[in-house]
C-alpha cells in the first residue's frame, strides 16, 4: 500500500498492484458521489493548485471537483494572467507556489516531461501529471480502466475479465499522450493492445512498446475487438497535416455506423473526449449504449479523488497506529 509513488507522473510508475488499489479506492469514491452530499472531510486543510498551461475543460474541472469533494482548498492557476507573462520562469513560478504552502500541483503542459522536471524541483509538494505533450496522461488511462472494469461487472470480477481482453486503440497515436498511458495501463492489467492508425499517425518507432500488433486496417480489427478506444485527431498538435483530409481520415479510421454494426454485441466504445462528431466517431455511434463516453467523465472524478487520496492522504507506514 505504501509502495504508491510520491508523484503521479506516468502510468509506467504504477504496477498492477498500485493500479488495482486506485480502482478499489475509486469504488468508495463512486459511492460518495451517489450521496445527497457528495463530500468527505478526507483532505481538509490541504491545498491543491491546478497549473494548466494548455486548454482543458474536463480534466481541469474533474480534478477541481475531485479536490473540492474531499474538502481540499483549490487554487486555479491560469498561465495567461500569471507572472509568467512578466517573464518569470516556470521554475520560479513553481518555487513560489511551493513557498505559499501548496500541498499538490496538478500540471498540464504542452511540452513532454514538464511534470517530471517540476517533481525534481519541489521539496514537499506532490506533482500530478494532468497531461504533458505527447508523453503521458495517467489519470485518463486509469479512468478508462475503471470504466472498462465497471462494464465487465466491476470489482475483482471485472478486473479478472481484463486478462486477455482485446483492446484496439484507434487514431492519432503519434501525438497522443492518452495512447501512451493507455498502452501501459491496459498491458499492466493483462489486456492485449492493437494499435490502428495510418502510418503517418504512428510514432517513428514502436520499439519497446508492449503492443500485440499494429495495423492500418480498422475493418479487420473491429469484429474481434472487445474494447475500441478512439482518439481525437489533434489539429492543435498539427495532426491535421498528417492526413490528406479529415474526410479521408473518417473513411479509413472513423467509427461510422456501418463499422459499429460489425462490432461484437458486448464490445465497448471509449473516447477520452472532447469528441469531434463526424470525424473519429459518428454522432449516432456516440449515442449507442456501448459508447461509455459520459461514464468515463463521471468516473474521472472518482478516479482523481482516489489518486489525490492515495498521494496526499497516506501517512508513513510506521505512523502511530490507533484503532
Amino acid at each position: 500500500m505504501s509502495t504508491f509513488p510520491t508523484h503521479l507522473l506516468s502510468m509506467e510508475d504504477l504496477g498492477p498492484g498500485e493500479i488495482t488499489e486506485v480502482l478499489r479506492v475509486a469504488d468508495s469514491f463512486v459511492e460518495v458521489g451517489r450521496r445527497a452530499n457528495p463530500k468527505v472531510p478526507a483532505l481538509r486543510g490541504r491545498t491543491v493548485a491546478t497549473l494548466f498551461f494548455e486548454d482543458s475543460t474536463r480534466t481541469r474541472m474533474s480534478f477541481e471537483t475531485a479536490a473540492k469533494r474531499m474538502s481540499a482548498d483549490v487554487l486555479s492557476f491560469a498561465s495567461g494572467s500569471s507572472s509568467l507573462k512578466k517573464g518569470e520562469s516556470l521554475r520560479d513560478t513553481v518555487e513560489t507556489i511551493e513557498a505559499i504552502g501548496i500541498d499538490s500541483v496538478i500540471i498540464r503542459h504542452s511540452s513532454s516531461g514538464v511534470p517530471t522536471r517540476v517533481a525534481e524541483w519541489v521539496d514537499h509538494c506532490v506533482v500530478i501529471n494532468a497531461g504533458d505533450g505527447w508523453h503521458q496522461h495517467p489519470t485518463q488511462a486509469l479512468l478508462d480502466l475503471y470504466t472498462v472494469r465497471q462494464a465487465l461487472g466491476g470489482g475483482d470480477e471485472g478486473l479478472a475479465r481484463m486478462e486477455g481482453l482485446r483492446v484496439a486503440i484507434v487514431g492519432d497515436i503519434r501525438h497522443s499522450r492518452v495512447a501512451r498511458s493507455q498502452i501501459a495501463a491496459y498491458t499492466a492489467m493483462g489486456a492485449e493492445v492493437t494499435l490502428v492508425a495510418p502510418s503517418t499517425l504512428l510514432p517513428p518507432s514502436l520499439e519497446g512498446w508492449p503492443v500485440a500488433s499494429v495495423t492500418h486496417d480498422l475493418d479487420a480489427v473491429l469484429p474481434k475487438a472487445d474494447v475500441v478506444s478512439l482518439l481525437r485527431v489533434q489539429s492543435e498538435r498539427g495532426s491535421g497535416a498528417f492526413v490528406p483530409t479529415l474526410r479521408e481520415y473518417t473513411a479509413g479510421y472513423g467509427l461510422t455506423a456501418r463499422r459499429a454494426a460489425v462490432l461484437q454485441p458486448d464490445a465497448l466504445i471509449l473516447h477520452p473526449g472532447p469528441i469531434v462528431r463526424g470525424v473519429e466517431i459518428a454522432s449516432d455511434v456516440a449515442e449507442l449504449p456501448a459508447a461509455l463516453i459520459t461514464d468515463q467523465v463521471s468516473n474521472g472524478v472518482a478516479i482523481r479523488m482516489a489518486v489525490l487520496f492515495l498521494l496526499l492522504g497516506q501517512g508513513p507506514a510506521d505512523g502511530a497506529h490507533r484503532d
Binding site: A42, Q314, G319, H321, R322
Partner: protein
Amino acid sequence: MAERERSHTRPRGAVFVPRAQVMSAEDVHRATTRMAHEIAERNRGLQHVVLIGLQTGGVGIARRLAEALAEAEGATIPVGTLDVAFYRDDIGLRPVLPEAVTDISFDLTGTTVVLVDDVLYTGRTIRAALNALGEYGRAQVVELAVMVDRGHRELPIRPDYVGKNLPTSRDEMVDVSDEGVSLGELVSR
C-alpha cells in the same frame, strides 16, 4: 479490527500470534443472542431499528445480530455496512485506506441506528462513524454494540451492548471471528 490492524500496521506483513483464547465460538454465539435480546428489550417492537456494521470486523456481527433478532422476535431488521476511512482523524499520519464500499441503501432519518463493531478500543473509529452516518440521514438515536470492549478509550464514547469486557494492555491485539475471540500480539516476520 484485527483485520484492519493486520493490513495497516507496521511492519507490513506482520502476523497475529494468538496467546490465549478468551471466548469460544459457542461464547460468541451466546453473546450475540444475548445482545440481540438486549437490543429488543431496549427498543420495544424494534420499529425503526437498523443495524450498521463497521467494515470489516463489524459486518459479520451485524448480520448475526439481525439473524438472532429475526429468530427471537420475528423482526426483519435492515442491515447496512459503513466504511469510515474518509472520516478518520489520522489521515496523513499513517496509511489510511477504505476496506470496502459503504452500503447503506435506506434513509437513516428517524431510525434507531445500532452501530456494530467487533472491538471497541480508543473510540476513534466510532467518532469517525458518527460523522459518516450523518451523510445518510438524521438518525433519531444511535446506539453502539461491540463484541469486545478492551478499554483504553481516548474519547467520551461508551457501548450500549457488550459481548465481553476484556482488560488488555496496549501492546496486545484482540482477534474476533466466528471461531471465537483470542488475545495475542502482532509479530513481524
